[in-house]
Amino acid sequence: MAKITLEHLRHSYMANPPTEADWALRRLDIDWDDGGAYALLGPSGCGKTTLLNIVSGLLKPTEGRVLFDDLDVTDLPPDQRQIAQVFQFPVIYDTMTVYGNLAFPLRNRNVPEKEVDQRVRQIADMLDLTDRLDSRASGLTADGKQKISLGRGLVRSDVNVIMFDEPLTVIDPHLKWVLRSKLKELHQEVGRTMIYVTHDQTEALTFADRVVVMNLGEVVQIGTPVELFERPEHTFVGHFIGSPGMNVLPCELADGGASIEGHRVTVANASALNEPDGVLEIGIRPEFVSFADQGLPVDVVRVSDAGRYRIVDTRLGAHSIKLLVREGESVPSERAYLRFDPERTRVYCDSRVLT
């Protein structure tokens, strides 16, 4: 059990990276508290697996340090870090039984056989594997195998952190949900730190207490699912989380306020609007846009039904603005006016929110 600190972390797979883009991780400082459930969320190639491998010790960072509590583990191999990892594809020892698989990490560490038996049965019980203990691990389905991988991390009492590298990739859709809630349940039961890497926002937001959103080798925001949704600090977070993603519209400053195409918009971070240098944009989620009697004049282009609400696509000059309208509410045809919720409208400068 430990608090994990990543200090000034940088990593490149090249010996002498010539440009900034050759760094898989550009600069990271993260603190993970003991016992938390964290998710690393980002598109493919954003560096999240690299980060995970650095924490587990499979990779040594080019620069920076990894601390478990106050112990510098940067140079320690995985087996000395007391970590566990569940991989994208289930890793099981084919020739062993389920019992043998779960006992393997303990036996390698010369734990007395009596204690092994006790731990294995306890963990098998947690994972609903008790009735399969004596069958060959290779005969199990993908979700069963993934449970075994997880179990091999759980049996060890000394594990600092359990890491998951997109563990549900090969699981059938209807079982994903089951396994995900099982994971959440297990986290509450064992209280271990868990770090969950995924590119699926639903998985990240349902599993984690705090989500680290990454893009292009950088952390763009760390926050609770609610914070990420209501207060995205970066337009990337706005795009990547939520469906449909946040509306991002170019804006200009006039008379100390922000406006789009000459139409004044009230924003939440108006106090920060003093002569910012960079590309200015306004971000607002479709959930916080509504039709009104006056406001931004738009043309309704398309309405798509998404079940409990409808996604309305509108146009303001060259820009598209999406909004959500609940089932049963009417949608004006052609010309209409939009109102942005001032509390949820923010100005971004070079993609970062102005503060």
Binding site: A84, Y93, F104
Partner: protein, 287 residues
């Protein structure tokens, strides 16, 4: 899941079937024909029944050749398989040396069999061969043309040199196909090198090793050219393996009937043992 059976598919197999018939089934049936009859040439045949089979199965000469054959095959398998796996484990998985190693390994396989025999013959000659001369200079009275023990050692050494590469290449292919995650998981689980070999590498290599053992078994059981060129089956009959003996009977003595019966017995032994071996190795598998 139930499988759909489409009988029409047999039509597509017909051309292959015809080909196989002409180059395997019909020649085989000719041999069956010879094995059941007696002939003195001129295409005159007399029915002999199972006489030749009884003769061959009861002959001490056949027993001795079969015994030598089994000893040879067993010895080379016991050497080549572990050695091949060990070399494959020692080979680099990435980097520029991979192709160098692979080419080096493939070289012996590219050499024609009779050339291998001739090479080793010269190599092992006691007076002028590098190996033979060196051994004698070291004080070992080595002479593979005179001493049966030396002849055996040389034949086995030659086979190991020629064919271990095949096992290496197959085992290596099995090794590189193991995803990295397995090694990473094993590291995290604290597995030591022996445990990694025992629980990851060996199980993952099982399929290719099954193929390797099967191929080496069949090939070594069939082996003819190399020992024939090297020792000619001698000294005496000491390295006369089954195939060499068969050729002696068929072409040396021109006993077509016994030779045909012997071929069939030989063929059935290989077929049966390969099948048993394969069935045992794969009994718990779904292929």
């Amino acid at each position: 899941m139930s499988k759909t059976v489409n009988q029409k598919a047999w039509f597509f197999v017909l051309p292959v079937l015809a080909l196989v018939a002409f180059n395997a089934i019909i020649p085989l049936m000719t041999v069956v024909n010879y094995s059941l009859q007696e002939t003195f040439g001129d295409n005159v045949f007399f029915w002999a029944g199972t006489q030749w089979f009884q003769d061959v199965l009861g002959s001490e000469r056949f027993h001795a050749a079969l015994g030598r054959q089994l000893l040879f095959t067993f010895t080379i398998l016991i050497i080549e398989i572990p050695l091949g796996v060990a070399i494959a484990l020692a080979m680099p998985r990435t980097g520029p040396w991979v192709s160098v190693c692979l080419v080096l390994m493939a070289l012996p396989l590219l050499i024609p069999w009779n050339v291998v025999g001739a090479m080793w013959n010269i190599f092992a000659l006691p007076d002028i061969g590098l190996l033979g001369h060196t051994l004698n200079a070291l004080g070992w009275d080595y002479n593979f043309t005179r001493n049966p023990g030396d002849a055996w050692m040389t034949v086995i050494l030659m086979d190991v040199w020629h064919w271990t590469s095949l096992v290496v290449l197959l085992a290596y292919a099995g090794l590189v196909s193991i995803p990295d995650a397995y090694y990473q998981a094993a590291k995290i689980d604290g597995a030591r090198p022996w445990a990694i070999f025992r629980y990851i590498q060996l199980p993952k290599m099982k399929r290719v090793l099954t193929i390797a053992i099967l191929l080496r078994f069949m090939d070594s059981f069939n082996i003819y050219t190399e020992p024939f060129v090297l020792t000619g089956g001698g000294p005496g009959n000491s390295t006369t393996l089954l195939s060499i003996d068969l050729v002696k009977v068929a072409l040396g003595q021109f006993d077509l009937g016994p030779a045909a019966a012997m071929s069939l017995i030989y063929f059935l032994i290989i077929l049966l043992s390969s099948w048993i071996f394969y069935a045992v190795m794969t009994r718990n598998e779904e292929w």
